[in-house]
Symmetry: C2
Subunit: 347 residues, 2 copies
């Protein structure tokens, strides 16, 4: 009798074993690339797998092997998602390539809420490892929880570079240094700076890069030109309103990310301050926003996608127990010069 259409039952390891004329254990060995199988046997099994279109059942594997073949991505859910989009893509691609599936978990501060979110996630998800997007990698409680539970983790852009852990970073200090150098090279001396969210590691590094550049060029640091921010549009606006209302306002403003820089441009427009004629503006991240603003924003591009890919690869290697000695990396950056910055007009 011919079965009509219907969801064809999936081939199991037993089917493969029968087809290949071996035991299920041998099939299992082949599937998991274990040693101690003759090439001849391996070929037989591979062929049977091919013929039957066998795909191991994840649930069974997970149940028997006590691992899940999935990793979690924990992140703080930001309003401006461009950065996370790239992270997501990088993590996803590497997971897929490595045969892992990806589970998401957006989290919310404060820390108490964070811990609840994560605990709940770990309870129901059983991931083999998690990736902590900044700034989650810097929350002590989170790391301790993971260590206690014996769950492997890897950090993207953490503050502290713990040599025992897995992490990737971009060279935020150098990036900021270079960006500031560029602004200085345009003749600017009064250069405002808007800091990022204090919980992010990048915040300090970008600030330090700015100061280092000023110092190297013999420009006296003026604390009045530095304003706090939270990495979002509104805080960028507030900071800009403050800086541009000074008696002696800056002729250039560096914001610690693009979203805040867009706030600066916004306020400048409102106040009738021409960019870049009377004010140069620069940001960080080269988000889609940067090229859509008017004038287009000078910014620093970090290879977020590549960073996320690598950190995921390192994590998976760790899970598999095949990790190299090198489990951190600093990534290069690109200075993207657009029209929001220009040579200082001697008034």
């Amino acid at each position: 009798m011919i079965k009509a259409g219907g969801a064809d039952k999936r081939a199991t390891i037993t089917d493969v074993a029968r087809e290949a004329g071996v035991s299920i254990k041998t099939v299992s060995r082949v599937v998991n690339k274990e040693p101690n199988v003759t090439d001849k046997t391996r070929a037989k099994v591979d062929k049977a797998i091919e013929v039957l279109g066998f795909q191991p059942n994840l649930s069974a594997r997970s149940l028997a092997g006590n691992r899940s073949y999935s990793v979690g991505l924990l992140y703080e859910n930001p309003h401006e998602f461009s950065y996370m989009r790239d992270v997501l893509d990088g993590v996803f691609e590497t997971c897929t390539d490595g045969g892992y599936s990806l589970l998401l978990r957006p989290c919310k501060f404060p820390v108490s809420r964070l811990m609840k979110d994560i605990q709940q996630f770990l309870q129901q998800a059983r991931v083999d490892g998690v990736i902590l997007a900044a700034p989650l990698g810097d929350v002590k409680e989170v790391v301790e929880l993971l260590q206690k539970k014996g769950i492997l983790f890897a950090q993207i852009a953490p503050k502290r570079e713990n040599p025992d852990w897995i992490w990737v970073q971009s060279d935020d200090f150098e990036a900021s240094n270079t960006l500031t150098d560029y602004i200085v090279s345009l003749g600017h001396k009064r250069i405002g700076f808007i800091k990022g969210h204090p919980s992010h590691g990048a915040t300090t590094l970008r600030y330090k890069g700015y100061r280092a550049s000023l110092k190297r060029h013999g420009i006296k640091f003026d604390a009045a030109l530095v304003s706090p921010g939270l990495f979002d549009f509104e805080s960028g606006k507030k900071a800009a309103q403050f800086l541009l209302s000074l008696n002696e306002p800056p002729t250039a403003i560096i914001a610690s990310n693009d979203d805040m820089a867009s706030g600066v441009i916004h306020v400048a427009h409102e106040m009738g301050i021409k960019i870049p004629e009377r004010l140069s503006v620069a940001g960080f991240d080269d988000t889609p926003l940067a090229s859509r603003l008017w004038p287009p924003l000078t910014t620093v591009k970090q290879p977020i996608f590549e960073m996320a890919s690598l950190v995921t690869k390192l994590l998976i290697d760790d899970i598999r127990g095949t990790m190299d000695a090198d489990h951190h990396e600093n990534f290069e950056f690109d200075l993207i010069v657009r029209e929001s910055t220009a040579r200082l007009n001697k008034a």
Copy 2:
């Protein structure tokens, strides 16, 4: 001997059964809220669960019960991610509330590639259902594959409103109609329109809404004022370059989304055309971009988050077999008036 720290073994259904003095089947009944359990027994079991902190093992459940308690979100990976971010949040929240986990699968056109992506995903993931974000719900091959495999699905903003399927939509026709009405009410008669990507259902509806409004106001439709687009910045720029170079350029341009509208603003700046004095511009979606542009963009806000939440709820209900009769919904929209649109200056 006291065990030092260590990953405390998780309680299983057997542990709970022992603790409560019942059989594992009874525990299973309680956990799955099946009938035929006395309140007294249920209370005993609930307490045991509480005491032991029991959480059912997903893999075991999935293996034995032949379902996975997870749903997949399939989407085309757009460069401008704001829309997807809201979708993601809505889907995620509802999944979590319903005890489901969420698996992502960004996909790429063309259809052949799409099918590979999805097939691979279904092979390794075993989801109980999938959500198809626009425009994936309109790809015949995808829907057929899901139906053949017996996988439940739900669509976000599909083109065709198949009454048998689960879907949610926003009222794009009315939204566009209303937006155009507003532009007309400002005195504009030559109103340009940039269409969206042809594969999206919203594209046609937004275009129709525009034409309907013109007609109702007795404004003669001029095909020269309509330009194609692909929902992205670059195509918005191209369309704007075309429209603004006409002998008699439009005094207002409606772009089918914010990203293209940002392209229009960009080009206008380049050409020295003042917004809104000489050109009004409007978009759709109210992405973060809209408020960051200068001048801030008049646009239409759709409740993406709510739509995504509902469609997920409907899908989960369907999976559980508890679906109501109503498995579609049209959502309301809001016209967000900002400074990129203004009354027509009689030159």
